[in-house]
Symmetry: C2
Subunit: 141 residues, 2 copies
DNA sequence: CCTATTGTATTAAAGAACTAGTACACTACA
DNA sequence: TGTAGTGTACTAGTTCTTTAATACAATAGG
């Protein structure tokens, strides 16, 4: 058999009934794939057209998802070339990183506290959440 | 001077320019006040009409906020009587509590990991977030 | 009872969000 | 240089969200 070329790629899918807009579903799936190890720095995402065909939606909808991901610094796009997982995380300053994390966490704290959860409960749940992720550290080529 | 009757009440306010819908702003302020200690179990919230007048909005908008809070189990409402901070948190089963917490935390984990934050960074930020809250444990009459 | 006070239901209007159609612009490479 | 492949801009139409106007229903207390 011919050797299978190892291309990082993930299986996208949309749920029209979920009420979650398509472009957000795409964003979430990319974020999850990164968190997961299925996408890594430098990997190319499907082109807007190919993913649009695959998902049977308009290219602009894919483009919108990619755009938001770029604004968040998660991907980098080059017109004419493609969209790639960014290396920007490593370039953020400490202050920027802390600010971003704070923005993610602050609403969680408030809600958790309103629901009566203690700090330790939240800490434990976060720890378990991370551990349940099973980073797939596949050998890199 | 006449003694001031200690009525738990919070100062609500709306920012029309924030882009956050009024009913969500109200929900957030109630949640925050609970997390904060300014509202405690059994306290009565302002009536839908009084708060509507105070904020110069329609009573239905306040009612919607209170409704969502009730769905989430944070308040209890009785037609003809009023809306009160619920005691339900304490009545949830362990399983229900864990499920609720998981729902809050799972999106955070994914996003934090996508942004390249480590588990320890997140744990530290959560800890600091809780500690910065300064629960106001006022004496309960 | 009856009245004042509470939350609720129904409907409608304004605006924002979402998706798609179509045409444009940049890049790589033969 | 020209062609195929990439992302982008502009526009329009539909749907959903949000808020409000108005009328209804339940409770508490004289």
């Amino acid at each position: 058999m011919a050797p299978v070329i190892e291309r990082r790629s993930i299986q996208f899918s949309l749920d029209p009934k979920s009420g979650v807009p398509y472009y957000k579903q795409i964003i979430l799936q990319v974020e999850f794939a990164i968190a997961d190890g299925r996408f890594a720095t430098g990997d190319q995402l499907p082109t807007v057209r190919s993913l649009a065909v695959e998902l049977k939606i308009n290219p602009n909808t894919v483009a919108r998802a990619y755009n938001e991901l770029e604004i968040r610094g998660i991907v980098t796009t080059q017109q004419g070339t493609g969209t790639f997982i960014s290396e920007k995380q490593l370039q953020l300053t400490e202050v920027e990183r802390e600010g971003a994390l704070d923005g993610l966490i602050r609403p969680l704290i408030t809600k958790a506290a309103s629901y009566g959860f203690t700090m330790n409960e939240v800490l434990t749940a976060v720890r378990e959440g991370f551990e349940g992720m099973e980073h797939r550290e596949d050998s890199e080529s």
